[in-house]
Amino acid sequence: MIRGMWTLASLDLLLWRRMPMAIASALIPPVGMTALLVVLSMAVTQQPVALVVEGRGSNTEKMASIIQSDDDAYLLTKTDMQTADRMLADQEVAAVIIVPKDFDDQVNSLGVANVILKLNNVDIDFADDIRRSVDRSVAQFDAPSYSLEGEKGGEAGEGGGAPANSDEKAKPDEGAKPEGAGKESGDTSEAQSAKPDPTAAENPYLVNIKETDLRETNVEWLNYQVVPALVLLVLSVGLMGTALLCAQDIERKTARYLVLTPQDSWTLVAGRLLGGFIASILFLIPAIGWCVWTKTINPPPSHWPALLAIFAATALCASGLGAILGTALTGSRTIALASSVISTYLFFLGGGFTNIAFLPQWMRTLSSFIPTRYAIDGMRQALFYSTLDGVGKDLAILCATAILMCAIGSFSVRRSWVASE
């Protein structure tokens, strides 16, 4: 039985090797998607901004220095007003930040000085990024703890504290106090209490951010985004490979011979699915090898078995689904197109394009019916988290889907062979 299965699987792999166009068709979508994800990853970092410092004085310098030091947020060009306006008009920069001439005077007279932001608000994605960044820079002027290091509990940022001559004591404006203010509030029995931090630097905003990160290091956005493309690779190759081979048996009328062989036809059907499975794995191995070599993935050693099981179950799902598709549709190019559409849907509804958990509820509900969701969630858990929480459930659902897909696929393939007899 195993020999029969292996014979058809190896024959399918041989046929697959002789179809470079089919291989290209299966590989182009994941490669294109990876390129897309890489470009997107590059797009979410800094924004080009021009800085114009019109005034002079210690406070002006302090403000400019805060903005210049935030190279996480800005790709900064320090220039004069005329050049900055030209750059904004020519879209060389997305915004111009101006520290005006009277900045020092305003600060020293204990008034409120403006930092002017001229913003090309074409869409809210980057416009909001800039707004947030400028707000943070401005807040840092009076509260250095709002620097990135400060939020994480490190040293306070540059500048330090309120400007010279400042002896104000921060308290909310009583006139602005709505009804009910100051009343005792909330159940505090087990709650965290707002005990003032005596070591905290003076902060007129009265709120000190104490950030705790869940993990020791941030995962690079690029790695986080690109790694699920491995699932798309498995899907695309398994689905298209199996589907094309099933369709070719019908088109070339070789299916009838498969039914007439002395070998049990169920064994041959299993061999067909095995061929699709092996093809996926053969393409996956070098991709994983490359990811490990470039340190794109670096899971703890104990997570490898779970990771491999996820890939194997996904490849079986793809193979079973490919068998269903190959018998439901006719024509190689229709199958190629259908495979790429289905793979794409499974990929992005499964959270390959983004983290589904961060999307609205309706999308999460829809996604819970997509098996690739469990493959991608499980893979991210195994790769980026220290524990394998939830991976067992993901694997169980994936395996159940794989069994179901293979069963339906096997029935479809056998029925198509018998019908062609």
Binding site: A24, S25, I116, S185, L337, L359
Partner: protein
């Protein structure tokens, strides 16, 4: 009748018949085009509104004001009130980006002018979201301070926007993705029409025709362009009725999309004549479309990504089409070039693509 016109009409009619027989191909092409709309919407959804748990142990008046400011902090948070245990569990399972804990006594401390520590736990798995949280919190805090008129604050932001309204990210992306849909539909159908001539061996007959071999292929492409325009109309309907996009200049939008269909049809001819196989056409067009789209100012003005990428973007017709479409839909200027100049470049692309298609076809038929 003029033999050229007869060849054009005859081949167009043949292609209509062929497409009528291959309905699944047409349907799948439309599905793939609509897929792009959903795909970019998903990307748009992740650009903002990070799901954040709010654990409010204070529930006082100042805490409520603070929460309101978190909610309006430049589309940064989707605030979900919950208890700390549930929040910790959700955070550990990757269902939240962060949890913000307002301590008991927050409002009292505020009333007395005392500084309060605000505990924030961030799942820093995703640098983009982490950055957004780290920048958005001070943003919410300064708005809060402004609202309750805290003294001792010396600097504020005075914002002057170039455009009098903000455009949401998803509608912006969806308009750009209509160009991608045109590329996919028209490119695939035209490339398949031409590649099929080579696959079935009928291309050799074109060498014997009394007209230039490109003429019957142009006839076929005219038919695929007509079908593509119909298919693109369905995609546009999804954009208008599904996403509520009402173009400011509808005729400009229609003209641009029609030009795109013709230009991408010509590019499809060149692809089909170059590949001579129908099988990889769809995957190739799909594979090319995605990166091409991202280098064409589809999510923000392309020049913001630097002069090198911006210069490279000029080699893509999608760049000019996106520039015109964003203007047609929202009146936005997203390229340094004017809209009319973008139209001229787009026309240049149409002529260029037709020339390349003629060269490829001539070579293919001669061989």
């Amino acid at each position: 009748m003029n033999p050229v016109i007869r060849a054009l009409l005859g081949s167009a009619q043949a292609e209509f018949i062929q497409l009528a027989r291959a309905r699944s191909l047409v349907i799948l092409t439309v599905v793939q085009a609509v897929t792009f709309l959903f795909l970019v919407s998903l990307f748009g959804m992740t650009g903002a509104r990070a799901p954040t748990a709010l654990i409010d142990y204070d529930k006082g008046m100042y805490a409520q004001i603070f929460v309101q400011n978190l909610k309006t902090a430049h589309h940064s948070f989707t605030i979900i009130p919950m208890d700390e245990e549930t929040a910790n569990r959700a955070l550990a399972h990757g269902n939240l980006v962060a949890e913000i804990i307002i301590p008991a006594g927050f409002s009292d401390a505020m009333s007395q002018g005392k500084t309060v520590p605000l505990k924030v736990i961030v799942d820093n798995i995703d640098t983009d979201m982490t950055d957004d949280i780290q920048r958005a919190l001070p943003s919410a805090i300064i708005q809060f301070a402004k609202q309750i008129k805290l003294p001792g604050i010396h600097v504020q932001v005075a914002e002057h926007d170039l455009i009098d309204h903000d455009t949401d990210f998803i509608p912006y992306l969806v308009v750009s993705s209509l160009v991608l849909a045109a590329f996919t539909i028209s490119g695939i159908l035209s490339a398949v029409a031409v590649a099929r001539e080579y696959e079935t061996g009928t291309a050799a007959m074109l060498a014997l025709a009394p007209v230039h071999p490109i003429v019957p292929l142009v006839g076929r492409v005219l038919a695929t362009c007509a079908v593509s325009m119909g298919a693109l109309a369905i995609t546009c309907c999804v954009a208008v009725f599904g996403y509520g996009i009402i173009p400011k200049h509808p005729f400009e939008m229609a003209a641009t999309l029609a030009s795109c269909v013709i230009i991408f049809g010509c590019i499809g001819v060149a692809l089909g004549a170059g590949m001579k196989r129908t099988l990889p056409v769809a995957s190739l067009v799909f594979g090319i479309a995605l990166p091409l789209f991202m280098f064409s100012g589809s999510y923000e003005p392309e020049r913001f990504d630097g002069n090198t990428i911006w210069t490279l973007a000029h080699f893509s017709p999608v760049y000019y089409a996106v520039g015109i479409l964003e203007h047609a839909a929202y009146g936005l200027i997203v390229t340094p070039e004017s809209v009319s100049l973008n139209f001229l470049y787009l026309l240049g692309w149409a002529v260029g693509a037709l020339l390349v298609a003629a060269i490829f076809t001539r070579r293919g038929v001669t061989r």
